[in-house]
């Protein structure tokens, strides 16, 4: 029988037992909806976690420090030289080398220093931190009041909300105002005329003031890298922070080196364009003679956890579809009993076993397709409801909205395909039974 005729006859048969076939289709729909809702929750939570983690800047970042002197010494003893080499300095040259490595987006130091703020006649002691341009995508800046820095070296600042509350009872009103930052600047000493060295032998520390315009207020400080310890409450553009030449702990180490005028970093953060490439960059940095650390392994574990989570959600969701498939078997077996004589007539008129089998398959497939499409729609609606409810709850607690469910296109296609496959599988037994019916026996059936 031609496909169109098969479809017409199947459609007619499905319409004739409308209530029963509708109930069976609804069963499939509920099964698919349960599967889609469960999986959409799993995928949504995974996306949410991945997005949040990506926004922390932790999973595409490598934290680089100089090797400790002890480690360097162990290395040389092992090599048989017998003399300890000083650790390779993490200086401007090293920073430049790292910046030229493939897939490296940005290399920046962790700049954090104590400051005093002067605002409206009052002084406040706190910690300032430099913020790299790439931090603009950081989750900490989601829903910030005001805006991000207008340029990497703008004389602008973003305040953490706790500090802003200290400065003013109405923190929002601070945006656009100016404050004065007092910090300790490292000022090189003039060269000693008695010394043969042209470079200065040391530095003095002097207080300096810098006027800054407040451009934004954030709830939390961006992570800024793995090695960041302590919280910076006043954020500066990183380039500006670097030009301030603030006194830092590493300055004392620089003073003891042969070339004290050459500034080195305590640590650097290397950002990579894609988390899977972190490992290769990390290895290159280690080969350059530095200590490097990333959270990639933690990311892999997280991915594994979510894969298992999705698997279990999928299994629970599929159970409903299995129950629905039993409904299909029941409906079609009942249809065989009711249509026994009709099958006999069809065979007497020239229908082959294949025609009869196909007819039942098309009916099962039609119920599966329709149930699958409706199920995806219902599953999406359930997901939408979960999202809506979650966001109403979060809004009530003054928290930013999130997306906890997601129905990607592959899930739509897979759920409908799965529904059709399960329906066809459920139709195998009834269809084969119908095809095997003896026409003489079937025609005798009353």
């Amino acid at each position: 029988m031609k496909g169109r005729d098969l479809a017409e006859l199947a459609g007619r048969n499905l319409r004739e037992a409308f209530l029963r076939n509708s109930l069976t289709t609804i069963g499939i729909c509920v099964g698919v909806a349960s599967l889609v809702a469960m999986l959409s929750l799993g995928v949504g939570l995974q996306d949410l976690a991945a997005d949040r983690l990506a926004r922390t800047g932790l999973f595409d970042a490598i934290f680089v420090t100089p090797r400790s002197a002890a480690a360097a010494y162990r290395g040389t003893v092992g090599a048989g030289s017998g003399s300890a080499q000083p650790p390779k300095p993490l200086d401007e040259q090293a920073r430049h080398q790292m910046a030229t490595l493939p897939n490296v987006v940005e290399v920046y130091p962790d700049i954090r220093f104590p400051i005093e703020i002067h605002y409206a006649g009052n002084s406040y002691a706190t910690v300032a931190a430099g913020v790299a341009p790439s931090a603009r995508k950081d989750g900490a800046f989601d829903g910030m009041r005001g805006s991000f820095f207008s340029s990497p070296d703008a004389a602008e600042t973003i305040l953490q909300i706790d500090l802003a509350r200290q400065l003013s009872d109405n923190p929002d009103a601070l945006v656009g105002r100016e404050l004065t930052l007092r910090y300790a600047e490292r000022e090189p000493l003039p060269p000693d005329p008695a010394s043969s060295k042209s470079a200065p032998d040391g530095f003095s520390i002097v207080p300096k003031d810098k006027d800054l315009r407040i451009v934004g207020i954030v709830e939390t400080e961006p992570a800024g890298g793995i090695g960041s310890l302590g919280r910076g409450r006043l954020l500066l553009p990183l380039q500006l922070a670097e030009t301030l030449r603030t006194a830092r702990a590493n300055d004392l180490r620089d003073l003891l080196r042969d070339s004290p005028s050459q500034h080195s970093y305590e640590s650097l953060t290397v950002r990579v364009n894609d988390p899977p490439r972190v490992k290769a960059v990390e290895d290159s940095i280690k080969q350059m003679g530095f200590t490097a650390f990333s959270l990639l392994d933690a990311s892999k574990s997280l991915s594994l956890v979510f894969t298992v989570f999705d698997l279990f959600l999928g299994i629970f969701g599929s159970l409903a579809l299995v129950v629905a498939s039993l409904g299909i078997i029941n409906t079609l077996v009942m249809a065989i009993l009711e249509r026994r004589r009709e099958i006999g007539i069809l065979k007497a008129l020239g229908a082959s076993d294949t025609d009869v089998r196909s007819l039942f398959f098309v009916e099962a497939g039609a119920m599966g397709s329709l149930g699958g499409v409706l199920g995806v729609l219902l599953g999406w609606l359930i997901g939408y409801g979960i999202n809506f409810g979650t966001n109403v709850y979060l809004k009530g607690r003054n928290l930013p909205s999130i997306q906890v469910t997601a129905v990607p296109w592959w899930m739509v296609v897979a759920a409908i395909a799965f529904s059709i496959v399960v329906s066809l599988a459920a139709g195998i037994y009834p269809a084969s039974r119908a095809a095997r019916l003896d026409p003489v026996e079937a025609l005798r059936y009353e």
Partner: protein, 233 residues
């Protein structure tokens, strides 16, 4: 010298036995018969004589336990299930005592059904359905369902359905069994008209007078065997 009329159906020592509990029923027992193209045969016999079973074997609805049965030269006993379906679709037309129309289809749709199964094009289908319905004079009832038709009209519809694929052999199993005598005669006259167009007709009946009036050869069966062959009107 003229060519002999070709054989439409031939059974060669064909038997059909059923196991009914402990007993073995010999529904058709060692039956050999030749039916020539264009014949109108009445298979006569009492209930349980095996005439309907023999008809089912000729239709390819059933398979013989032993022996051979040929339709237009092809041995039905050796055909695969799909080939038998084609045989029923293209060579044979069947009419039943109980009409066996599909109740939720209209007259037109019932008649069209064998053409769908035979994968005939839609355009041609429409023309052949009209032609078959005109032949049984039911043009005015195209959109009626079987429940809206009289017994005679239902049997005429079944006849149109049997003829729509233009079979060379028409098998009728008690076609007048559910009809009053007037309507029954009308159906038999229709069968005669069809036979006059060259279609071989094998009709199962238990009414000897009717068989004698309308068929040209009477074959009598009893206990699965042919007891008499050749009596005619």
């Amino acid at each position: 010298m003229t060519n002999p009329t070709p054989i439409a159906i031939r059974s060669d020592r064909v038997s059909r036995h059923y196991q009914m509990g402990e007993a073995l029923v010999h529904a058709v027992d060692d039956v050999s018969i030749e039916i020539r193209a264009g014949e109108f045969i009445a298979l006569l016999g009492s209930s349980g004589s095996g005439k309907s079973t023999l008809l089912n074997l000729m239709a390819g609805l059933d398979r013989p336990t032993s022996g051979r049965i040929f339709a237009e030269g092809r041995n039905l006993a050796e055909m695969r299930s799909e080939e038998l379906a084609k045989h029923r679709s293209h060579t044979i037309g069947i009419v039943f005592q109980a009409f066996n129309l599909l109740p939720r289809m209209t007259l037109e749709e019932n008649v069209e059904l064998p053409l769908r199964l035979a994968e005939v094009d839609r355009e041609e289908r429409r023309a052949r359905v009209r032609e078959a319905i005109e032949r049984v004079r039911l043009t005015a009832r195209l959109t009626h369902r079987p429940s809206e038709l009289s017994g005679g009209e239902q049997q005429r519809t079944a006849l149109a359905r049997a003829l729509v694929n233009r079979p060379s052999i028409l098998l009728a199993d008690e076609p007048t069994g559910n009809l009053d005598s007037v309507t029954g005669d009308q159906i038999l006259r229709l069968l005669q008209e069809i036979n006059e167009t060259g279609v071989t007709i094998v009709m199962v009946t238990h009414e000897r007078p009717r068989a004698a009036s309308f068929s040209r050869r009477i074959v009598v069966m009893s206990d699965g065997k042919i007891t008499s062959d050749g009596g005619s009107a």
